[in-house]
């Protein structure tokens, strides 16, 4: 059991790409930590640098307080599950799970015993003598997890652990993964490009872009108070409304409506107002617009309003209350859920 400390870490590829750029990060012991970002943001490279599969160009990686920056992957006390699971096709499930012990030349009987015990914990008991090619996607994923937890590693690294599963299985695997992590209390870092997965699983999330961390916080913080417009855009299953506005007195003039101002700003300052569709409700006053599209999301519907100047504003309404296309209505932000960003894209405040 150990935490991971990363200080000033840079990883530069031979072709000159700075995949990780002077990054600082602390993962607490026993935490389930998500590295979230769009593809190419450096999250997988960061994970591989922690594992030792990529050489850090600069900076330090500490696992459990020990500097492992120059250590070989095998001596860092990490276990890893790859995106394609990397199960050895010529070995059975039992041999795959026990492989870390085989490397350490543990006796055959002990290998089998550990494989059986681990497999039982991950509902793989009946499959020990099969080969990976004969398993379903979910079983392969659990086998890869079993192999990673068969030896007591200090840190578990997961590269896109759920991305190779189909949608329904992914939800089951997500719950399973979270429970497994809780039971083992194993420090876990996982990489994902799916914001819903990160929000659902992680204790804390680091949102990454171009090799840097844009925001680090709990899922709630990241969802409710995105630190900048990039994070605001990236997090949330329906895209956040980001509307241009101008400070007028003690409010913000935004698509024809005067909204409360969260920070003390000079008159005439241009700002970006951010509000999630989920935090907008139909009200007597607020942003006025005409319904142009209604999309059914199940329990709610996403309504797109066409407002003054052609600006599009999304809001969700409960089922049974969908307006008809062409209706005119007002959308009002819920208290405390209106975010205000400066021109540089950084959060100024919320009200």
């Amino acid at each position: 059991m150990a935490g991971v400390e990363i200080g000033g870490l840079s990883t530069v590829y031979p072709n000159g790409v700075r995949a990780v750029d002077g990054l600082d990060l602390g993962v607490v012991d026993g935490e389930l930590f998500a590295l979230l970002g769009p593809s190419g943001c450096g999250k997988t490279t960061l994970l591989r640098t922690i594992a030792g599969l990529e050489q850090a160009t600069d900076g330090k990686v500490l696992i459990g307080g020990r500097d492992v920056t120059r250590e070989q992957p095998g001596s860092r006390g990490v276990a890893m599950v790859f995106q394609d699971y990397a199960l050895f096709p010529h070995m059975t499930v039992a041999e795959n799970i026990a492989y870390p012990l085989r490397v350490r030349r543990a006796p055959k009987a002990r290998q089998r015993e550990v494989a059986e015990r681990t497999a039982a914990g991950l509902s793989l008991s009946g499959l020990l003598d099969r080969r990976p090619g004969q398993l379903s996607g979910g079983q392969q994923q659990r086998t890869a997890l079993a192999r990673a937890v068969a030896v007591e590693a200090d840190v578990l690294l997961l590269d896109e652990p759920l991305s190779n599963l189909d949608a329904r299985l992914r939800l089951e695997a997500r719950t399973f993964l979270k429970r497994l992590q809780r039971e083992l209390a194993l420090t876990t870092v996982f990489v994902t490009h799916d914001q819903a997965e990160a929000l659902a699983l992680a204790d804390r999330i680091a949102v990454m872009e171009s090799g840097r961390i844009r925001q680090l916080g709990t899922p709630r913080e990241v969802f409710q108070r995105p630190a900048d417009t990039f994070v605001a855009n990236f997090i949330g299953s329906t895209p956040m409304n980001l509307l241009d506005g101008v400070v007028r007195g003690d409010g913000v003039e935004c698509v024809g409506a005067l909204l409360p101002l969260p920070a003390d700003l000079a008159d005439g300052t241009p700002v970006v107002v951010g509000v999630r569709p989920e935090y907008l409700t139909v009200a007597a006053e607020g942003i006025a617009g005409r319904v142009s599209i209604v999309e059914n999301l199940g329990v709610t519907s996403l309504v797109t309003l066409e407002c003054a100047g052609g600006t599009l504003v999304g809001l969700t309404v409960p089922e049974q209350e969908e307006p008809a296309v062409g209706d005119a209505l007002h959308a009002c932000p819920a208290p405390g859920r209106l975010l205000c960003y400066g021109e540089d894209g950084l959060l100024l405040g919320a009200v």
């Binding site: 095998g74 790859f82 394609d84 990397a86 096709p89 870390p100 490397v103």
Partner: protein, 273 residues
Amino acid sequence: MTPAWVVRRIGLYVLVAVVLAFFAVPVLWLASAPFDARPGLGLRWPDWTFANVATTFRHPYAVTSLVNSVLLCVVATAVTTVSAALAAYSLSRVRIPGRDALLYLLLLLSSVVTGTAAMVPIFVLMLQLGLIDSRFGTALVIAGGMLPAAIFILKDFVDSVPRSYEESARVFGASPGQVLGHVVLPVARPGVATILVWSFVNAWGNFLLPFLLLRDVGKQPAAVLLRTLQDEGGSADLAVIPVFSLLYSIPVVVLYLFVSKRYGFRFHGGIKS
């Protein structure tokens, strides 16, 4: 069942029969002629006898040449397979500038140059190295000719083995030797087996190189000896040739069956990559 259809069918079957006969007759000859008291070049039901076998084994060079063939092929195959496996693995895994150009150049030169065109330079080279009439030297030249193609085929094979297998093993603490022994070789085994059989068969049938480089009849392999199996009058020695041909064809078939059963020319298949 129009008349035209019937005619087309008959035409097709006649064609198939002719093609089948073209391939089947030599094989049937190989099965019957060795045990025929009066073997000819035609195909007929034999008067069973083992006299030809005895005659063949009494021939001064028949058995020696088969032993020579085995020797040549084992050395050439071993050199080709081991070198090609190592070269293919490093070419597949290590980034070398101009790697692809190098590979294509190798393949191109080997297929264009090493044929008959290179015989004189190779002969002179071997002469100066003092390797004329050396079975080992000849095996090396044969291996050298096969290497580029072998590397090319194997590299393609290793390329299809996901890198994450090796990385996964490394994360679990495997040393480079363990990565090779536990993961890379077993996964690449069908590819190596393919190269093994391919290079053996190629070396087994190679006539030109041993014919030029081995002057001593006692060192020549079966492929070369077969040409010289004549009686005093200069006509084909039909007592020895059928049995010798049969013996000559057995190792390749046995090797194929053995490797196919033991290692299998199949690929386990990567998992969702």
